[in-house]
Symmetry: D2
Subunit: 287 residues, 4 copies
């Protein structure tokens, strides 16, 4: 296998202790690893240490499949939560949509241009509307109609399809359904949603209408991991745009679309490049 440009990424969190940076960097150095990115953060209030380290597989003294084994004693010594990822594994992504196309269209454009390091084998929707768009990109489109009655039986089918397709990441690209707790439990910190407001303002439905009624001067969009509580998961990325009294609800929706697609794409890109670490319902984004 030619892994010349491939790297290993360690994401670590644990109780803050002396020697963490020294021990992890020594582990990589001792095996001739060439570090191309290392960043750490200590949450002083909680005494939590968080680190990301990335080094080249090429020339590393431990074979790819032995790295986890070699690192385990260190992890155990410091009681680390840790995650080892390899960039030669390309994550498989499922995109969920309803009727609005701008986020799906934007993600597929990046995919097409090679800007997303991922495979996108399928799009899932509760409507038929966006099938032509997905098929235009030769991506399978699965329609699971959802009503309050059918939801309980449809979700297991969706989960089975995701399992069959070995999906690593679920992206809710303006999917207007709430995913159930069982679903969330299957993909912890692996479901990214775009919410069309500056959370925690205007959580829930119809945020642009609420923003209009409140007369805010700035609107926003928020990408977050989905947890059991609606719109309460760890925030990955947010951005805002200035508006004025001249903007009708339709104008807010139009301006918001550009925010939504950019913020969602940034969050997905950060996740796919293994830049996001979750702790205490927050994210550390190692940019």
């Amino acid at each position: 296998m030619n892994n010349r440009n491939e790297t290993a990424v360690l994401l670590i969190s644990c109780h803050d202790q002396k020697g963490l940076v020294a021990t992890v960097s020594d582990f990589i150095y001792r095996h001739d690893g060439n570090i191309i990115h290392a960043d750490q953060h200590t949450d002083q209030e909680q005494s939590i240490f968080l680190q990301r380290a990335e080094w080249q597989l090429d020339g590393f003294g431990v074979p790819r499949d032995g790295i986890a084994e070699a690192f385990r004693p260190i992890a155990e010594r410091f009681a680390m939560d840790w995650d080892l990822r390899f960039t030669d594994h390309v994550p498989r992504v499922a995109i969920f949509v309803s009727r609005l196309e701008h986020c799906l269209y934007d993600l597929l454009g990046r995919y097409r241009a090679g800007d997303l390091r991922a495979e996108i084998p399928l799009v899932i929707s509760n409507h038929e509307d966006l099938r032509p768009l997905a098929e235009n990109f030769d991506i399978a489109y699965y329609h699971y109609p959802l009503t309050s009655e059918t939801k309980a039986e449809q979700e297991p089918r969706i989960l089975a399809k995701l399992a069959e397709e070995r999906i690593d990441l679920v992206v809710l690209a303006r999917y207007m359904q709430i995913v159930g707790p069982e679903f969330v439990g299957c993909y912890p910190n692996r479901i990214i949603n775009i919410h069309h407001s500056f959370l925690p303002a205007f959580a829930g439905a119809r945020p642009y209408h609420l923003a209009y009624e409140r007369g805010v001067k700035i609107i926003g969009a928020t990408a977050h991991y989905v947890t059991e509580e609606l719109d309460q998961g760890p925030i990955i990325e947010q951005d805002v745009a200035r508006v004025s009294h001249r903007d009708s609800v339709d104008d807010l929706v139009r301006k918001g679309k550009d925010l939504e697609k950019i913020v969602l794409a940034r969050a997905v890109g950060l996740h796919l490049r293994h830049r996001v670490l979750v702790y205490k319902n927050k994210t550390v984004v190692f940019e």
Copy 2:
């Protein structure tokens, strides 16, 4: 009186009807007025017409004191809410503070530099701390200690002082007390507060702590007119700043201070230049 550079400003709101722009501009034109700013906005959803017109007093065919009388028939014909202001009247402003000085310090700096068209005859506080700062600028400082017991008797004293000083505008520059309904009633749309969050997110107390706990990626500040409902009044101006996981609560407070002082100063400046019109708990800002 030399009013060469002085102007009259009309702020109008009424039900949308044909002929409004034509009639108002004709009124000014007919009397040889030189319009230096005119802007209007129609809220299509509510069918409300809102207008700001500003013209030079110099050369205008109606004397200053007769303008209201001359305009009244038009106002009545269209059932307008209207407000006529003159820039040769310099508004008198009272600044309320508690212990934090950055907003007061910033406003007084602008005042000193001649950037605020206002008189600031007094600063009012529930603490003694900022007396030296006010006195440094030769501004009277009044200390009204407030506890839950004394509040009911102190507020009338404060109102009496404001009346005695003929105050036009009250600025709550990080004043950590809630002003009562009677107070608000005395100064409708004439009390500006700075709230240290991006409203409606984190209304109420300790917004930076809440923002830190929620893990937002952007913080904000909001200047609004005070109404009876806490932090629910019409928003005049907002701004935001990017933060990251590296920012502690103290960092948010530090970064937030710069937002607060800039946003408050912008809102006060817009109000003093008669650029803000309130309707339906929102503002139209004619910039």
Copy 3:
């Protein structure tokens, strides 16, 4: 013809004089026009008056084809430069591209979603690369290879094609060729270019490389009308994004792409909604 929601738009510039607002609004009012947007601006330094007025055709007392004739005496009296447009005329747009697809892809997505009020009958390029993308949208794609030798003979062919297709607006969506003075002369203030820097910084070639070398902390993108002088035309819209020392040139290019597509789309949208007025190599954007 059902023109229930269609409007007329007047864009006016002239020497500042008394009575301009009154006369124009009276013209609309006298003929029972319902104004839905009116905005004006006076450049005090140059004594130039600039106005945009938009009213509903439905119910207007002058038939569509007679409006210009009816307005002409007013225009002549005040020596106005003026432009009368109707929203029932859908502008025809040609998009020029080279090899980079993100701007074209984004514009076509908005077109597909009905967010651009325009017809896009053709895409023109000096390369074959983006033909599949255009054809995916059933848009004709014309390839005009350009070398320094062939340019002189190719440009007239391109102009002939544009004339044949009755093109109203040319959008240079990362078209990496300089259009000649004759071309510019055919489409005054009707060629919009996106430049991948915050002009006037980094005009000309390779702006991201220059930004990287200079170590700027913020990058930008600029949409402007094309004039004979390279990157010197009237600016319609700009936006920026924060960068850091961690960003390589490739990162700047990646982040810049999102800026470019959003800024270009905003500028094209403003032009198509008749919101932009050019004077003295600047724009007034009536938002």
Copy 4:
């Protein structure tokens, strides 16, 4: 000496080599240092490694005065450029001004509030205007009139005064004079200037006038270290604000003042917290 909260800061740059992170962190760990911040960056293009490490002096196994000696062998082995700083040394800052007061006023406000970790023993100016402001803060004010004839003889006097006051950092807070090469040579990367434009746009004089004439939609401010070439030094911080055709030159100046004071204060704060590392005429800002 009680140095409980005091820290040591290492700023390192050198050719990128394996083992750098491991060796530096091992040095701190071996002596029982508690790292509270560590960040590194590799400029891949230039193969330059840059690092900042900060650890508590309290409990560190090497006494404060021996740390440099203890670290020297590591520095020599990797041929590092390095800088060791201690937070118990409070830098001494001289502020230079001309006639505009907003930046000085803002810096002194932060100083007064304890937000700047510095001593400010003197203000230097080529005018008398701001003497009352400095004296209000009990800060010595030195007036050095400068004309093209006197400049050559005045600058050595200024330098002598700075030496006498053991100044560590010079802040040019809208000082409208160019400091000479000898001056710059005395304070390499220790003179911070605020330029009132988004560099490299509008370098040199009258940037707001030029921005107005060019019709830009966004203005900016840039804080940078001063080098021999005017406005060409390493950029520390920049920020921008949106403007429109409605803004006159005076409006740009007014809006720009807020940018200038915030951007300058941020840059000075970053420098004083030892967060800025200069290489190749750029900065790495370890935030």
